[in-house]
Symmetry: C2
Subunit: 330 residues, 2 copies
């Protein structure tokens, strides 16, 4: 479907700890215009609301005489599904911040707020890799590991707004400590920070084995990062290959848990770590299929996301459009 | 609400590898009459269909002049959500058996087929422990470990009908081998068979430590079962207590995975192992809360199921009633 000139537009905002991205989006998920600025959490919630409102005004101006009917905001945090308040967003230093209410007061447009990864999942479902299916799971593997779920043709937000947290599924009761404080989470193996930490620890533990990795960063162990490991593994370094294998094992086991739980027909797997370490894909695929029940995994396909960096804002814009019941013919 | 005399009745069937239970159920989930017989899988699918049809006739007779509008069947296997065919039911020796079609031909009533644990979950949701909430997860821990999920006020069946398989979530990448062939599944720690196997292995490995357990079964190691462990733990036996703790750790980690994934407000935890080993409950509660994200677990309550052995047939009966759109005012 192509966007009709008289069809309503919405604004989608992707609000993280470092960046605020806002886009003017058509009903078929095309970005007509977008703006980005630092989110600067230190200045406080009210100032961030003003920054969103200002971005919205810029985008409304860009819309010209086309109607902008609402704003969807995806926030890096836990959002109350009933009130649109942000319960807890560590990177924004927010606890119980009434984002929906404050932003509506400021922009005089309907606002819907949801978690940023849920928004990206919604975007990928409606306009991206998941178009046309009723049950899918997204896993985004970057510095952290996040996810989202569509079941029965609906976004699963969860009773408290935090559904889809695949990164903190335990895959090894006795595994390494995670940023969340537990042991053996998927993220404690596969998050970008964890790959780097595991690599540095391995280099320290066995300097001979780690010599190649260390040499790639000119002997500075603190510069060893996930991409260092990815490139060394590509070049055949045994330690780097082992680290990639362990990362894939954990991601595959986490994916199997979520596949057993939801039995989706599609697993959308992406994010910076997956993009930078493409060797992971066949490992995750094999481990997931080995560890999930056959009934759950047999007809499952693993696919990359399609919307790229705009997934969150397209998803948030689509979410508010659906909430307003003006979703066109999708 | 009390059942009206003119309200439609349905029949719910719970079909497992050993037992076929059928019940005549009111729209408010009351069992008016029930029949049970062995399922005898060896006699083949057509004979089982006839046995269900015969049970249904008995129950229709018992209904007198009240109308019976349909039959719901919960089957211990994977059910195709579109066709009502049983794709795979190892305990019934079925692969791609067209249960819905054959039973409809036989009984001339509308039939709906779903997985047995999903049926029990549906029953607990509508008429049992989960009444009134929109998001819940059931975990039933018996010989095997099964589960079911309600999200957004709907049963999650999954793309292939196998959603809710919490028993085969990996909690320990390097853990003991499960009946499914993988390592470290929840069931490989917490299933009744696994508790018994782990206890026997521990007794063999350390006869002095295992003396109490062995004595409880008159020196016959093969008689050591989950209930032996439960009773010995109650009496303070250190090995038995360790086994219970490990069981609770694995169940708690599995529960945390599902809580992180679905963010339910209610976890219904039951089954023979939990009933027989009540010491598990506080352990599962503590481990789940420690391992799940706070956002997901903070407002979660763990409760026992309410419908007991009838959960499956009440759920299946309620499911067909809902499918027929005659669900009263629930």
């Amino acid at each position: 479907m192509t966007s009709r000139k008289d069809a309503p537009l919405t604004i989608g905002v992707d609000l993280g700890g470092t960046k605020l991205a806002a886009a003017l989006v058509t009903e078929d998920g095309q970005v007509l215009c977008d703006v980005r600025r630092p989110s600067e959490p230190a200045r406080g919630g009210e100032q961030i609301v003003l920054a969103i409102a200002e971005a919205a005004r810029t985008l409304c101006d860009a819309a010209g005489d086309r109607e902008v009917v609402g704003i969807g905001v995806g926030v890096a945090g836990q959002v109350d599904p009933d009130t649109g308040a942000v319960r807890h967003a560590p990177n924004l230093h927010w606890t119980d911040f009434p984002l929906k209410a404050q932003l509506e007061d400021s922009v005089h447009l309907p606002v819907a707020v949801l978690n940023d990864v849920q928004a990206a999942t919604y975007g990928e479902w409606v306009h991206g890799a998941g178009h046309g299916v009723d049950d899918l799971v997204c896993m985004f593997v970057g510095t952290g590991v996040g996810g989202g779920v569509i079941a029965n043709g609906e976004l699963v937000r969860g009773a408290g707004g935090s559904a889809g947290e695949v990164g903190h599924i335990t895959v090894d009761l006795h595994g390494p400590v995670c940023r969340c404080g537990n042991r053996g989470c998927v993220e404690a193996y596969a998050g970008g920070w964890a790959i780097a930490e595991r690599a540095r620890a391995a280099v320290r533990a066995d300097p001979a084995l780690g010599a190649t990795l260390l040499a790639r960063e000119d002997g500075d162990i603190d510069r060893i990062a996930a991409h260092t490991v990815a490139r060394a593994a590509e070049a055949g370094d045994p330690l780097a290959r082992r680290l990639v294998l362990e990362t894939g094992e954990a991601l595959g086991a986490g994916a199997a848990a979520i596949v057993n739980g939801f039995n989706p027909c599609l697993l959308v797997l992406g994010g910076g770590v997956v993009d930078g370490m493409p060797q992971l894909l066949p490992i995750v695929d094999e481990v997931m299929r080995r560890r999930a029940l056959r009934a759950a995994a047999d007809e499952l396909r693993i696919v990359p996301p399609k919307l790229g960096a705009h997934a969150g804002s397209i998803g948030a814009a689509t979410w508010i459009l659906r909430q307003l019941g003006r979703s066109g013919d999708i």
